[in-house]
Amino acid sequence: MNRVVFSITLQQVAGKRRTLFIGLFALIPVVLAVLVRTAGANVEHEQWAAEGLFPVVIIGALLPLAALIFGTAVLGSEFEEGTAVYLLTKPIPRRAIVLPKLIVAWLATGVVLLLTGSIAGMVALAGTGDMQIALGFTIATVIGALAYSALFVMLSVLTSHALIVGLGYVFLWEGVVTGLFTGTRILSIREYTLAIGDMLSGTPDVLFQAHLSETGAIVGLVAVVGLATWFAIAQLERWEITAGG
């Protein structure tokens, strides 16, 4: 863990534009919760939170999008803007570059989801339902954020098209393929996150039931974080500058 790299990365991520951009996304679940609360017709609040708000809106869309933006920014923007060499010509092991950057991506994604998840959850459930649903799923998103961040940081070292590959993974693989071929669910961070959320929120099976077991999800998360981080470090160690002359 390198404090200097950590602090530079924090400053990179905390740009005004990016904060505004993510802020807009993060508002969506809150606005939606308010809308359903005020204009909803015959809404079962706990059911809506456990079936729609958390698994579909927050875990299905917002979590991967926020992690994608931060995960590809922390290291990918260094390659895109051409500052990577400044960092790589320093006598520090490559893991001391990857790890702080991963942690910043995770922290940033986690903070955004903690805010949007708790506020939207509160709006959806306050006074009418079991707040543990909101709490459990929100904590699960923060855990899932680490796996997504690790995956996207790795992608940003591997390819300059990390965004499109990442979006394809999230919306084609996790969104479509795992729905068609249920066997592929064991390779889905969304399913791991949902399983953890199921466990932590203690929702009864009638409201929400994850496809994967808790143990499967924990093994999957550990494997994704471990492998992606290891691979990102290994790739950075053998990173070659493009465009020779």
């Binding site: 939606l32 359903v36 809106v57 869309a61 990918g76």
Partner: protein, 294 residues
Amino acid sequence: MPDATQGSIYDLGYRGYDGPRLGRGYALLSLYIHSLRGVFGLGRRTGSKVFPIGLTVLAFIPAVIQLGIGALTESTVEFFHAHSYYGYTQVILALFCAAAAPPLAGRDQQTHTLSLYFSRSLERMDYAMAKFGALATALLALTLAPQVVLFIGNGLAGNDLRGYFGDEWTQVVPIVASAVVLCAFIAAISLVIAAQTPRRAYSTVSILAVFMLTWIVSSIVAELTEREIGLAALLLSPFHMMRGFTLFLFGETPGATSPLGIVDYPGWIYLLAAIAWTALAGYLIYRRYEGINA
């Protein structure tokens, strides 16, 4: 040897061109073709071809499956219907737009070559038109082309190919009409977002988010709130509008439990809304290039 200290102009034999010029229309056509090739990464390095061509191939998968079923078995079952085809491929279409629109609209801004275009016979309106036309045309390869394959595939599924085409030729009108409206619609939406910033990261994520988030959110709003609010939400969601006007053009009705069915408004609304959005987005793209400092 001429005396360099005296000012003088040498006649090097250069001559001005005063013959006919190809003019604005030709410039527009050239930029359109160049942009269209660029969408598929033609004339660029291999890395730029992988995603557009890969996604185009994916958009054919349902049609190819149907074709395979029709060719290899005696089954007459239509697994994939023309009026529902975009329901299977909409995520692919969105990914294609997210990958293609940002470089199409942003590359000239990024490399500061926009001023070079505008100093030629090309007008700003032409530039916007060429870019929009290129993306919309490219999208036909992911929409109309698979529909044609599907049409043939469904024909093969029955034993009587000639009879099938004889009965079903009226389908050609909605197939073409829905594909054309759809391509213009999502091309305009994608470009209006992409034209706002040369930063690829923002526009790529924004385009995909506009398609996917509105889809998710509007489905929920349609399901959980009153009809009027539901309709308003659906008219903000490109995927739902696509579904709505495609069903309308084919003369089909949405399933009762689907968001469109729950809200239950006539289908022409979605067609009208899609055309209105396309016009608005087109106007905003034009405004953007009128106002840009180049």
